[in-house]
Amino acid sequence: MLVRWLIPVGVGAASVAQVAHATQYLTVEQAQRAAFPDATAFETVRAKFDASALGVPAGWAPRVWQARAGERVLGTFFADAVIGKSEAIDYSLALDTNGTVIALEVLQYRESHGSEVRMAPWRKQFLGKTARDPVALNQDIKNISGATLSCRHLTEGVQRLLKLHASALAKG
């Protein structure tokens, strides 16, 4: 076990170093292949639904594919995004033909803290670092402890997709 406290950051300095965190975990294609390794094709499905009847926000438009192996239908794949107070999560959901969840993966996670546009995220990575610290993208500084993230929005998103599947897609 090695533990080295580099900076117990002073109160004054703390507000300076605000780090926006963004991680890409999987592309849509990678998540599709992982969920349906036997699929030979992913066909785009145009999901028609009445937003108010489903109780989903107007303008909600998840991307939907049908996974196939030749003529055989393997299941449904969704890619959607949820936006919380300080984060945006792109995620995918794969269901088999019975509507059972095969896979739920976060594709990309981005934080904003309301300052995403104004400040370049990469610059903020280097704040508070000293010259002797190795700065390697993707492997340094990406670990974050502290304020616990809530997955409430993501859970709600999954519930919306399951509802959409049950009402609009399962029949067709």
Binding site: G10, A14, A17, A20, I89, H113, S145
Partner: protein, 280 residues
């Protein structure tokens, strides 16, 4: 060697895992197995779900022996160890007060807890749990850390040379390379930077206003004061449990940190930053 990262919503937060030093197929299989382990720990130790080990313990009459999974037993044993060492400041039986405050749902149990019951009324015997008085156990303050530890072990056993498992800020790093971790407050500000190799870090904050998430185990008062604490320890379960003792008694529990070989970094508005434990 490639780096593989995955994140899934589990334990009420985002659980992120990263492995290095493995080929793609073995990495993806290992990550799947590690996420499955986290999900299983959640099922076993959930306070809410009727099928969990805890739910079965809560439904049983006091004095009855209830068999539990070895993992549940391990977490209970650690909870009791920290409870004893902290003189009951950390106490998983505060679930009763948490239910009364509306922070936890009432479990399905025909028995109301004895208001005088404490961690001392939980007995572990072999693979069984016996409650000497009716009480409710909440492992929320510790099981997340345990899930992080187990997932890390799954990934290391599968051959990963560098691993990071992070469950919403409770994290463990395994491997030879030291990694940097930013400790942040609820507003995303960086509060501290710590470098870790083969170690765990857990962070917790007490409320400044509104509903308090944590209670003092002895007087059962809500922990307030807007304190942020990060604990570094050998494993994440211990780090997770120790964050709650620091929130409850601050510097007074520095002896505890020596005993467990842990460090803590504590911040509050009045005193600013302080170190506790070995690094102090």
């Amino acid at each position: 060697m490639a780096v593989f990262r995955r994140a899934r919503p589990l334990l009420g937060t985002l659980v992120e895992m990263r492995v290095e030093g493995m080929g793609e197929i073995s990495a993806l299989c290992a990550l799947d197995a590690a996420f499955a382990e986290v999900a299983q720990i959640h099922r076993l130790m959930s306070f809410h779900e009727g099928g969990s080990d805890l739910a079965r313990v809560h439904r049983a009459r006091a004095g009855t022996s209830v068999r539990v999974d070895a993992r549940t037993r391990e977490v209970l044993a650690c909870a009791l160890r920290v409870a004893e060492a902290s003189g009951g400041v950390f106490d998983p039986t505060v679930a009763f007060e948490q239910v009364a405050r509306g922070n936890l749902p009432r479990p399905e149990s025909p028995f109301d807890p004895d208001p005088k019951a404490s961690w001392r009324d939980i007995e572990l015997s072999g693979d069984a749990v016996i409650l000497r008085k009716p009480l409710w156990i909440d492992l929320g303050g510790i099981a997340k850390g345990y899930a992080v530890d187990r997932a890390t072990e799954v990934l290391v056993d599968a051959g990963a040379t560098q691993v990071c498992v992070n469950a919403g800020g409770d994290l463990r790093i395994a491997g030879a390379r030291a990694e940097t971790v930013h400790v942040r407050d609820a507003h995303g500000r960086v509060e501290a930077v710590v470098e870790l190799a083969d170690a765990a870090l857990a962070s917790s904050s007490s409320a400044t206003t509104g509903a308090a998430a944590h209670l003092h185990g002895v007087n059962r008062r809500a922990l307030g004061g807007g304190i942020t604490v990060s604990v570094a320890a050998l494993d994440c379960m211990l780090a997770d449990a120790l964050t709650k003792t620091v929130l409850a008694c601050g510097r007074a529990c520095s002896g505890l940190f020596e005993e467990f070989g842990a460090d803590a970094c504590v911040h509050d508005a009045r005193s600013g930053w302080r170190m506790l434990g070995e690094a102090a």
